[in-house]
């Protein structure tokens, strides 16, 4: 894949995969003659699910914008510097009202780089007053070193006891930079050291620092505990960095990762790999059963992936402005072929493995 291509989002390039319907079409029908995959709906029917239903809401995940300082090759959000979708303060205010009354114990802010939303700090300050037990910000780390105006983010996070969850595809420079862009590894290491200096990720510290591992290519993540052990050993020995947990996440065949799979002729094999790794035990705990995902413009989705595929919740309540937890709980979760990604192997969610 050329460097010029990877520096722009699919949206900026007007690529066919910027269209959610086109992605769904590929996922549903396949693009290879021999690629007739079993339907996910049939798979879960084998274990007695005519559909998936939500359990008690535990996590409210809010995407505050698709703007990002990185253009990672596998990004399912298709985020980047050229994406201008940003949550307004008005929508944030609607989110705050929901945060105050929801039964969810975890608030999970994501993007893009959430810190690039001009109202990010105001939102964190207001939301942190709402008594949420676990307040996550998904920081890509390099944003902390991207510009002087972000240099104080570690202190800001500490002040509000934010739980920092950061992507780190590997403990080596080569693999990290290949997936996330040149220079990302060194900046990420520097940012992790700065977070450690504030107490983040240190043994016994209440300042939580977790890393997210996405495979840097067309393969599934290995055993989470084993990967965590290897990451901890390498980062400690090489850079004196510590962190709490590693979340191993499966890349879902959506957006730029789907583009990569097709361009590299790995799509068919990858889909088969997901199907072959299908684990019925993961189904009960997939993240859509305890999460609601809110988009930058306030629409509600079963998960972050459905958000990117523009599959809004199957409920009378579809927007944060009309949020009603009781009504929302009474819905069927929308599933498609991409759901194999969350049920492969040990399962996958924004919090790592589920089975």
């Amino acid at each position: 894949m050329s460097e010029a291509k990877t520096k722009q989002s699919l949206h900026k390039r007007n690529d066919q995969l910027a269209n959610a319907n086109r992605q769904l079409e590929i996922l549903s029908n396949g693009i290879f003659a021999s690629g007739e995959l079993p339907r996910f709906a049939d798979k879960i029917a084998e274990i007695g699910h005519t559909t998936l239903r939500p359990n008690k809401l535990e996590i409210l995940q809010i995407n505050v914008g698709y703007m990002c300082n990185q253009v990672c090759e596998h990004c399912h959000v298709d985020a980047g510097p050229d994406r201008k979708e940003i949550m307004t303060r008005e929508t944030m205010q609607q989110c705050l009202e929901v945060i105050k009354k929801t039964g969810a114990h975890t608030l999970d802010l994501t993007g893009g780089a959430p810190e690039m939303n001009p109202n990010f700090r105001w939102f964190v300050e207001e939301a942190s007053k709402a008594g949420i037990k676990d307040f996550i910000v998904r920081s890509n780390l390099t944003i902390i070193r991207a510009n002087k105006k972000y240099y104080d983010l570690p202190d800001f996070f500490k002040k509000h006891n934010v739980h920092v969850v950061s992507s780190m595809p590997h403990w080596t420079r080569g693999k990290t930079d290949k997936q996330r862009g040149n220079g990302v590894f060194d900046k990420s290491i520097k940012a992790l050291q700065e977070l450690n200096e504030r107490g983040y990720g240190m043994p016994g510290s209440s300042l939580r620092l977790d890393l997210v591992y996405n495979p840097s290519g067309a393969f599934l993540p290995g055993n989470q505990a084993s990967m965590e052990k290897d990451f901890k050993k390498a980062l400690l020995e090489d850079f004196n960095i510590q962190f709490h947990h590693l979340f191993a996440i499966t890349n879902l065949p959506i957006s730029r990762f789907l583009d990569y799979l097709i361009a590299s002729e790995n799509y068919e094999d990858y889909m088969y790999a997901l199907v072959e790794a299908y684990n019925p035990e993961a189904v009960a705990n997939v993240m859509c059963t305890n999460t609601i995902s809110v988009s930058w413009d306030g629409w509600l989705y079963d998960c972050d992936f459905n958000q990117m595929l523009d599959l809004k919740v199957a409920s009378k309540v579809k927007h944060i402005s009309e949020y009603n937890e009781e009504l929302l709980q009474d819905r069927n979760i929308i599933i498609s072929q991409h759901c194999y990604g969350c049920t492969a192997g040990a399962g996958s969610s924004c919090q790592g493995t589920v089975a």
Partner: protein
Amino acid sequence: MSKTYYDPADLRKFGKITEWSEELGTKFFDYYSKVFEEGALSAREKSLIALAVSHVVKCPYCIDAYTKDGLQRGITKEEMMEAVHAGAAIESGATLVHGVQMMNKYDKLSM
């Protein structure tokens, strides 16, 4: 379309060998999965051994499978290539050590 002896898609059908001999196939897969569990050697170390052996026995299916397995375990390409060299060194050593037999035979037959 040209026909070749090896089709990468056949790797997905490996499990089907049990269909023609369920008992032996099942015993093999039970043994196989047990071998690669964590033990005195880590599963990571065993994966690298398997990758090296895959090259020595020149099995394209095994090379595909254990390259992917290595990636999934976070094994680096440098580690993988070192494993391949270890296998190659033993393989070439095994050829060369027979040179002693040749030398012995040569000496025995020569005046």
